[in-house]
């Protein structure tokens, strides 16, 4: 499981203090931390024509008063970056008079496993499957003029209101 504070000068207690201070006069808001990885491999007409892998890490900080939403995000998880976001939110909502309500119902139900499929197979194993798919399709019908097959995966881990989860799709 990702630790968003591991390689940052921002500690969990720093983050909690900044969030509490920023949202104290707001109706709602949260700090949303996310680490995602995605991968896509396209085999088109017997060749790998496109392959991509990306990894992304960042936060989104939201403050809400009545129906006004102030939002700031950054791909840098650091104390300075979060403070800058806080200042931005506070200046947008400087006349707010809300009462922050952070209560969210809790649940232990999970509807999918915490797995990262991208790491389950090597790139070569994935390409081998695509080649098998291509070969199988072309063996089924002599009229096939073109075929393409594609893997695409995304894994997202986030922390929000002290709840962990991992999404895979």
């Amino acid at each position: 499981m990702s630790n968003f504070f591991e390689k940052s000068d921002l500690s969990r207690s720093d983050a909690e203090n900044i969030v509490s201070e920023t949202l104290q006069k707001c109706d709602d808001g949260e700090l949303y931390l996310e680490n995602s990885k995605s991968e896509s491999i396209l085999l088109d007409d017997n060749k790998i024509k496109n392959s991509s892998y990306s990894s992304d890490l960042g936060f989104g900080f939201r403050a809400i008063s009545d129906e006004i939403v102030a939002y700031s995000h950054s791909n840098e998880i650091s104390k300075n970056s979060l403070k800058q976001s806080s200042e931005s939110l506070k200046s947008t909502l400087k006349s707010t008079k809300g009462i922050y309500n952070h209560s969210i119902p809790k649940s232990n139900k999970k509807y999918y496993d915490n797995i990262n499929p991208i790491e389950q197979k090597t790139l070569n194993e994935k390409i081998e499957i695509l080649n098998k798919v291509n070969k199988y399709l072309r063996s089924k019908d002599n009229n096939i003029k073109a075929s393409n097959s594609k893997f695409s995966w995304r894994t997202k881990v986030y922390r929000n209101n002290q709840i962990w989860r991992r999404n895979t799709n």
Binding site: G60, Y111, N169
Partner: protein, 289 residues
């Protein structure tokens, strides 16, 4: 892509969900995907021009529910109703669909593409009844819109990633089973079409007005499925179509896990499901009059 006698047609199929590679990469599984793509291309190779005009339409089970998602589901999202831009905003508790039509948005189905353990605001997901037996019961809500509409979040707050704000969004949007068989529906149609799968389309998500292109469809003549047709488009608006549903099937299927919903520039994974349904009146755009 298949080519025969100078004619080229394509077929495509995919599967997905919140699961490991292993479940998808079993040989029988990916071979089924290949066979289905090839079958669709083969059907389209034999297709003839689609009829045009107002007629009865039977939608097949599963993926055709994308029409419900686009033309009805978006109109039931909290933000459009709070801002009163949805056609449904003042219809809570009223009859908005034919009797027998029940639509839910369910984030609790194991391993499905639209399922969420918790939403992107931390709220546990749930099964939200939107329309029950034709009566509008609930909207989908995130925390912001729920608070302003004096209700509770339905665990529908979602965002594409940390760069985006949360919006109320669908998860797995499903029309539930009725009592009719698909055979009964086909027999009830003198002249119409049987739409099995859709490709692209255009939708105004607040009014529910849509144009969808069929990627696999057949003509129906005198209660029997006929030849495959090419180039059929379905045209209408969601609120009206809901009232034209005259039979709801007993063969509900979930889509294979390929849907990504777009709203305000954000894409999120979703699922759809429905049984076969008979729509008594719909405009079909085709090339054969």
């Amino acid at each position: 892509m298949l080519e025969k006698n100078g004619r080229k047609e394509t077929g495509g199929y995919g599967i997905g969900g919140r699961q490991s590679y292993e479940s998808y990469l079993r040989e029988d599984n990916w071979k089924n995907v290949c066979d289905e793509a090839l079958r669709i291309a083969s059907v389209n190779l034999e297709s003839k021009p689609a009829p045009a005009g107002e007629m009865k339409v039977v939608l097949g089970p599963g993926w055709p529910a994308i029409l419900i998602h686009e033309a009805v589901g978006h109109g039931l999202e909290g933000d459009f109703n709070r801002k009163k831009t949805s056609a449904f905003h003042n219809l809570m508790g009223q009859k908005v669909a034919s009797e027998g039509v029940t639509i839910v948005d369910d984030g609790t189905i194991d391993n499905k593409r639209g399922s969420l353990t918790i939403d992107d605001e931390g709220t546990p997901t749930e099964k939200t009844i939107l329309i029950e037996n034709g009566i509008l019961k609930n909207f989908m809500q995130d925390r912001l819109n729920a608070r302003l509409m004096k209700t509770r979040s339905t665990g529908s707050g979602r965002r594409e990633n940390y760069r985006h704000i949360v919006l109320p969004r669908m998860r797995n949007t499903m029309m539930l089973n009725g009592k009719h068989t698909q055979e009964e529906m086909i027999k009830a149609v003198d002249r119409g079409i049987f739409a099995v799968s859709f490709g692209g389309g255009q939708v105004d998500i607040t009014s529910g007005k849509f144009v969808f292109n069929c990627t696999e469809a057949y003509e129906i003549n005198n209660g029997k499925i006929g030849a495959p047709i090419k180039g059929a488009t379905l045209i209408g608006d969601g609120p009206s179509i809901l009232k034209e549903v005259s039979m709801v099937g007993n063969d509900m299927m979930l889509d294979p896990g390929i849907g990504t919903c777009g709203k305000a520039g954000q894409g999120v994974p979703v699922g759809v499901a429905q049984p076969s349904i008979l729509i008594d009146k719909m405009t079909v755009g085709g090339t054969k009059l």
